[in-house]
Symmetry: C2
Subunit: 227 residues, 2 copies
Amino acid sequence: MIRLVGVTKSYTVGDQLVPVLKGIHLEVHPGEFVAVMGPSGSGKSTLMHILGLLDRPTSGDYELNGASVLHLPSNELARLRNQHIGFVFQNFHLIPRMSAVRNVELPMVYAGVPRSKRRARAMELLEMVGMANRAHHLPNELSGGQRQRVAIARALANDPAVLLADEPTGALDQQTGGEILRILQDLHADGRTVMVITHDPRVARAGQRILHMVDGEIVREEVPDEP
Amino acid sequence: MIRLVGVTKSYTVGDQLVPVLKGIHLEVHPGEFVAVMGPSGSGKSTLMHILGLLDRPTSGDYELNGASVLHLPSNELARLRNQHIGFVFQNFHLIPRMSAVRNVELPMVYAGVPRSKRRARAMELLEMVGMANRAHHLPNELSGGQRQRVAIARALANDPAVLLADEPTGALDQQTGGEILRILQDLHADGRTVMVITHDPRVARAGQRILHMVDGEIVREEVPDEP
Ligand SMILES: Nc1ncnc2c1ncn2[C@@H]1O[C@H](COP(=O)(O)OP(=O)(O)OP(=O)(O)O)[C@@H](O)[C@H]1O
Ligand SMILES: Nc1ncnc2c1ncn2[C@@H]1O[C@H](COP(=O)(O)OP(=O)(O)OP(=O)(O)O)[C@@H](O)[C@H]1O
Ligand SMILES: [Mg+2]
Ligand SMILES: [Mg+2]
């Protein structure tokens, strides 16, 4: 159970205060598939970074299974991030000097998974996203959509209960995007909680709920029709 | 007049030869609006880098207004790139330590434009893409779609005759993407040559021709119906 209560986030740029999240109230139940849509700059990625324990709110609270995460020790936050939450970044954040397969293995390295098991699982995940034949390419030897797919594979490395994906099909053609959507739906069908930021109506409609953000607030909740 | 004759491009990864472009024949006439579509990894960005004089073919020729560019001295190539071709990169390539407005000014610095003129034009371009209120933010203080819009503004800095845009609306919501498409259409209406790689059918339909790439080749040309 993911719960945000009165979450705000502001940044300081020079001497300017830039308010970005202006009071977010949000509940995501275990096993839910939630989509988040909204204009460029409305705060979607900022919200997802807070949910992914990659950033802290300026004010308000974040409860995970009834307990506030804001008071957890940093090693416990790191463990949650590494093993329970898979995060697909909007700009991928692949390690430039590591090949695709080694990028996918990295979360497993942190989790202490043995070498041979890591390699087998990483290749299996790359296979799933159609990237097995580019396993040894560096990120700068991959196309935009290929990097995106490696980032998706990496997010799944430790088989997380929660998947947070920031525009996971943004760099993909219609067909490849459809394949990724099916993967997200399969992960959801297996009981995982999936939250996706997307500009693609087809991905949003796959959700059980669509949260619409404008200017730092959730202004509307939509329940798509059964497909 | 842009002309590619039998262009191939291959890379070496480890001891593997990776053929990426497999014989491209292409003509783009002055003032044309051409869209390029195709699956992730099919060679679109590689093709555009060659067209933008950012990369050289492995074999074949590239003629610009009847003369081969492959034999031009590097300062002449740099001048063409800086003043005649605007390039919007798929992953934006903004300078991390420079603010949005200084990133947009950079091509004008290379072209020797005086300081006050540069600042005025850069702010005007940022205004056009809805980014004037983030002019002094660094790239890491901007959302994904905001970086994309700054990259578009920068490509237009020296008022190029040719605009090459690699998925210019990929990170944008429907509405902002529509605004960018209108900008591309206005630039085209003013007589510029516009070539856009896109996964968005709405952008592709704005073109006078759509080139479909699969596995390193142009397999089909489509003429969209009049809108
Ligand atoms: N580190 C930062 N410092 C200052 N402002 C920031 C910072 N990070 C983000 N912002 C601002 O916060 C706002 C929201 O950014 P965010 O990345 O959450 O938007 P978004 O909804 O994901 O947009 P997009 O659809 O373009 O990805 C933007 O206006 C941005 O300029
Ligand atoms: N420097 C490189 N070294 C090796 N292979 C490369 C290199 N750059 C690109 N490639 C390969 O070339 C192929 C085409 O890449 P390109 O970036 O042109 O694809 P694309 O059509 O733009 O894809 P996308 O829609 O995902 O952006 C890919 O299979 C990629 O792995
Ligand atoms: Mg974002
Ligand atoms: Mg590309």
